[in-house]
């Protein structure tokens, strides 16, 4: 049950001037340049290469590697943060995970420090460590190459490696989940060890262990080993803090070190007793999880719920003030920013700008369906409003029947003041969507956001939500060219579905398109299954498994299906451009007969050069997704349904179903740059619309736009959607009210998610032209936040040209193309 006792939910009396610690730490963060950190790669490689054998059970071996690293990981204190623990050995570090994408920077070891886009500082010594010592061990052993060898470089992998069809993310990560921190907070890691030990003892009583029980036994042993590593790291932090306290002269720092020393001696081994212990416990566990799992969308979840009892108890006892709670929450927010992704330069140019997207979720309803908004919800909103950092990716759940309007409007106000965060999620629909996927109602009500916008059941579901990122436009282009794509030349990629100029009806074309999509999705799923089995064989996650409901009870690692709920997510790029292209083909070729299919293809090949009249017609006269036009409504809904039915008919290697979603991160910019002209009038190499958002400038009425997107059968979008909107200005209480009402209206139509940038075209153009004037300008991309200056040019253009709506009239603000 929610409990709001704050007199002022906006907490206006607190700001960075009277929270000087947060101000100082924030400045430190923004001044810090990211550095490559090889600490984890070095210890893991050392252990796996020199101290163990490929023949050992993978569970035990990887648990030992985690233990070895965590026991040796340097206990470091870089600043005056109140929380102990660092993700890497650098103040702002990009850890190398050679099992996944860590090898991709090998060609850049000499240049990564000075590259143009988002350089990462790498010392000569560490570069040599990677080149001579670490990388050679992994040449045949990372996920990608192990899988390739095992399956003899299958076609699905070769298609993936063309990058323009689909991306199989498991080559680079799984992560993307919401662990259960409650067990560490309420019972302590020693309790997890005891549980695993008692189960191990039970199994050992059987002298003739079955293969299944032998695996369980190894799993329970692995959990204990990994958890001992977590405790060792905390204890090392404690000892170091005690040593620093003894030497420190500054009274504030001395006291801080002293408190951290005491705290680390207690948590996470034993249950947290205070709010401060609880917050630090979460952070240490988060650091430990990243020992084993790559730093990509490992999401802390519903922190306002998980931490509330600790907060309330301390407030009631008088040992914590609101200001102190804000400092601790702020310290956690800043700690969540202490690491970056290791990305090769071209990936930065094409897809970059992302943080590590640890999603925090606040608000909504509790497991009983009652209002869960509490004082901590508002504290977290205020801290977010003050710090304006890229991470954590803050998500506000809103239940229009249970949550108060003042909460809704406060969320809107924070978005206005940060210009971008939080994103808002529809509790009513999200819960139904999860129930429809077989989640128990009380568990569905406890959902939290993973990474960008995906729905996870906190600590109970392993969703691998970014398993497949499929480019829908590639399916469209394959259908237009009978299995070939302009970007891949004359090579027959997909099935031959016929020359479209011979099609007699739109239905025939749609069938060809669906056949191409079926083929592509099948390849994506096939490769994801291969990767999944590779993880099961060589890269299990005993440490992460300990923080979930299910693995302990079943004696099974997460990667083997140990979680209570399982699924794999497939998200889609180019949805709006694909739908609008289908609309255009139906209308122009088969209804209005404005052109033949052959003429349309000719215009596409010429990028509409010398076909200006047809281009103008396609842009202005064909139906657009995001309006009430029945053709657009039908094509958008039938595509959503088609994809949903296909994916749901497939079960993954963990026994869960595939779930489609529509969020694109920055892939819509990168993939757009690689696609030719499309039937909707989009010219070659232009970015696609983001997420599930209508094409920029295509939907000129906000109400119709929200109705169209909200009407997309949300139960068919179980892996989440990202609707990106822009308001050029929101001024005063009335505008905030309108803002909140528009969100609610959209949610009542069925929309799952919405996020905003509060910026005009002119603001953004100025930011692009004068980056030095806008340091730290936060924008929402497609599911996550980024600093505008970190984005590639295509992505900047996409955000600039996104349709801006006047909040008072609901009409699109015209974009004067000359100014772009």
């Amino acid at each position: 049950m929610g409990a709001v006792t704050l007199q002022d939910i906006r907490l206006t009396e607190y700001n960075l001037e009277n929270l000087p610690l947060l101000k100082q730490l924030r400045e430190g963060l923004f001044n810090e340049k990211p550095k490559v950190c090889i600490e984890r790669a070095r210890y893991y490689t050392e252990y796996l290469r020199d101290m163990s054998s490929d023949r050992e059970p993978a569970e035990i071996r990887y648990a030992n590697a985690a233990n070895y690293f965590l026991s040796k990981k340097a206990p470091l204190f870089f600043d005056d943060n109140l929380l102990a623990g660092t993700t890497t050995s650098k103040p702002f570090g990009a850890p190398v995970y050679p099992e996944w994408t860590g090898m991709t920077i090998w060609p850049e070891l000499d240049t990564i420090s000075t590259r143009e886009k988002n350089p990462l500082i790498l010392s000569k010594k560490e570069a040599e460590g990677l080149n001579f010592d670490i990388y050679p061990y992994w040449m045949e052993r990372n996920i990608l190459e192990y899988t390739r060898k095992k399956h003899n470089n299958p076609e699905c992998m070769r298609i993936f490696e063309r990058i323009v069809f689909f991306i199989a993310s498991k080559a680079g990560c799984i992560s993307h989940t919401v662990p259960d921190y409650r067990v560490a907070l309420d019972k302590g890691v020693e309790y997890i060890i005891e549980q695993a030990a008692s189960r191990e003892i039970e199994l050992k009583k059987d002298e003739n262990l079955s293969e299944e029980n032998r695996q369980k036994l190894e799993f329970y042993q692995a959990i204990q080993i990994a958890m001992q590593g977590v405790i060792a790291y905390a204890q090392n932090l404690g000892k170091k803090a005690a040593g620093l306290a003894a030497k420190e002269q500054d009274p504030f720092r001395k006291e801080n070190f002293r408190k951290m020393a005491a705290l680390c001696a207690r948590v996470p081994a034993k249950p947290a007793r205070t709010f401060r212990e609880a917050v630090n416990c979460i952070w240490i566990v988060q650091v430990a999880i990243h020992a084993e799992n790559i730093n990509m969308a490992m999401s802390p979840g519903r922190l306002d719920q998980i931490l509330y009892e600790y907060y309330k108890k301390d407030i009631d006892k008088g040992i914590l003030t609101v200001k102190e709670a804000m400092e601790l929450v702020g310290c956690l927010w800043l700690k969540l920013n202490d690491n970056a992704n290791l990305v090769p330069e071209t990936a930065e140019e094409l897809f970059g700008g992302a943080g590590t997207v640890p999603a925090v979720t606040v608000g909504g309803v509790d497991e009983n369906g009652e209002d869960a908004v509490n004082d901590l919800t508002y504290i977290m909103l205020r801290v977010t409003e003050l710090l304006k950092t890229r991470d954590p990716s803050l998500n506000a759940r809103y239940h229009y029947e249970k949550n108060a309007e003042e909460y809704r409007d406060r969320v809107a106000e924070v978005i206005v003041n940060t210009k971008a965060v939080p994103a808002i999620h529809n509790d009513v629909v999200d819960i139904k969507v999860l129930e429809n996927q077989g989640t128990k109602l009380e568990h569905a009500r406890d959902y939290a956001i993973i990474g960008c916008v995906e729905l996870g059941v906190s600590g109970r579901s392993y969703d691998a939500s970014s398993s497949i990122i499929l480019n829908l436009v590639s399916g469209l282009e394959l259908a237009l060219n009978s299995g070939k794509r302009p970007v891949t030349g004359d090579e027959q990629i997909g099935p031959q579905t016929g020359d479209p100029s011979q099609f007699k009806s739109f239905v025939e074309f749609r069938e060809a398109f669906e056949n191409q999509l079926r083929w592509l999705m099948g390849k994506g799923i096939e490769l994801n299954e291969y990767f999944g089995h590779t993880y099961q064989e060589i890269l299990p996650s005993p440490l992460l498994s300990a923080f979930f409901e299910g693995p302990m009870e079943q004696g099974k690692d997460l990667i083997s299906g140990g979680a209570l709920y399982n699924s794999s997510g497939a998200t889609h790029v180019g949805f709006a451009d694909t739908v609008d292209s289908l609309n255009a083909i139906e209308k122009a070729v088969f209804i209005d007969k404005k052109c033949t299919f052959a003429e349309l293809m000719k215009a596409l090949e010429a990028n509409f050069k010398d076909h200006e009249k047809l281009h103008a017609y396609l842009i202005n006269k064909t139906p657009k997704y995001g309006t009430d036009d029945p053709i657009a409504v039908e094509n958008s809904r039938s595509l959503i349904r088609f994809l949903y039915d296909f994916y749901q008919g497939h079960t993954n290697y963990r026994g869960g179903r595939y779930r489609p979603g529509y969020w694109t991160m920055t892939n819509h910019a990168g993939q757009g740059k690689l696609s030719r002209a499309l039937p909707n009038g989009r010219k070659a190499d232009k970015v696609f619309a983001s997420g599930i958002t209508p094409v920029s400038q295509a939907a000129d009425d906000l109400t119709a736009c929200l109705r169209a997107v909200g009407g997309l059968q949300s139960e068919c979008i179980p892996s989440g959607e990202a609707l990106n909107l822009k308001y050029p200005f929101v001024e005063g209480k009335e505008d905030i009210k309108r803002f909140g009402q528009a969100v609610e209206a959209y949610f009542r139509c069925g929309g799952l998610h919405i996020q905003f940038n509060i910026m005009s075209y002119e603001d953004l153009i100025d930011a692009r032209n004068n980056p030095e004037k806008h340091p730290g300008l936060l924008v929402r991309v497609s599911g996550y936040s980024a600093y505008f200056n970190d984005l590639n040019e295509a992505m900047k253009d996409e955000i600039i040209t996104r349709t801006a709506y006047d909040i008072r009239t609901g009409k699109a603000v015209p974009l004067r193309s000359a100014s772009v």
Binding site: M103, T104, L109, T111, M139, R162, T346
Partner: protein, 153 residues
């Protein structure tokens, strides 16, 4: 120390060598004609002369095939016994085969102005068949060689 000085002197002489000049001219030219052969010849030479650079292939075994899409260029590189051997013909059992549009595409792929592996794949200028990590290693060595040749390493 003595060996380092010797290496330095030898590398200075290599820099004066025609191969290196040709290589530098090649990477600055529009067509990058002969790039693949020159790169491998220079790499082989420097691996022989420079102990530090030779560390890259200590105990390393790798078989590479570079071929242009029109089959005009076919060059193989075999790393074994701490040496690089270059062949003007196709070889079997490669760890990785790189098929490229033209010499310029291959050069963009691994060298100039920066290693652009992903970009080349995205533009479909280069198609890789095999273990990417072998290529990453090769691209690192090539880039390092370029930096050595231009005095920036």
């Amino acid at each position: 120390m003595l060996e380092n000085m010797l290496n330095y002197a030898l590398f200075r002489s290599v820099r004066a060598n025609r191969v290196q000049k040709q290589f530098l001219n090649c990477i600055e030219s529009e067509l990058a004609e002969g790039f693949t052969e020159l790169l491998l010849r220079l790499m082989s030479l420097v691996l022989f002369l420079n102990m530090d650079f030779r560390r890259n292939i200590k105990n390393f075994r790798g078989r590479y095939l570079f071929r242009s899409r029109d089959d005009e260029i076919t060059v193989a590189a075999v790393f074994r016994d701490n040496r690089l051997r270059v062949y003007d013909k196709a070889i079997a059992n490669t760890d990785v085969t790189v098929t490229f549009k033209d010499a310029r595409a291959l050069m963009n792929y691994i060298l100039s102005p920066k290693p652009d592996i992903l970009g080349s794949i995205l533009r479909q200028d280069v198609v890789i068949d095999g273990n990417f990590n072998y290529l990453y290693k090769f691209a690192y060595m090539a880039k390092h060689l370029q930096l050595m040749a231009t005095g920036k390493a």
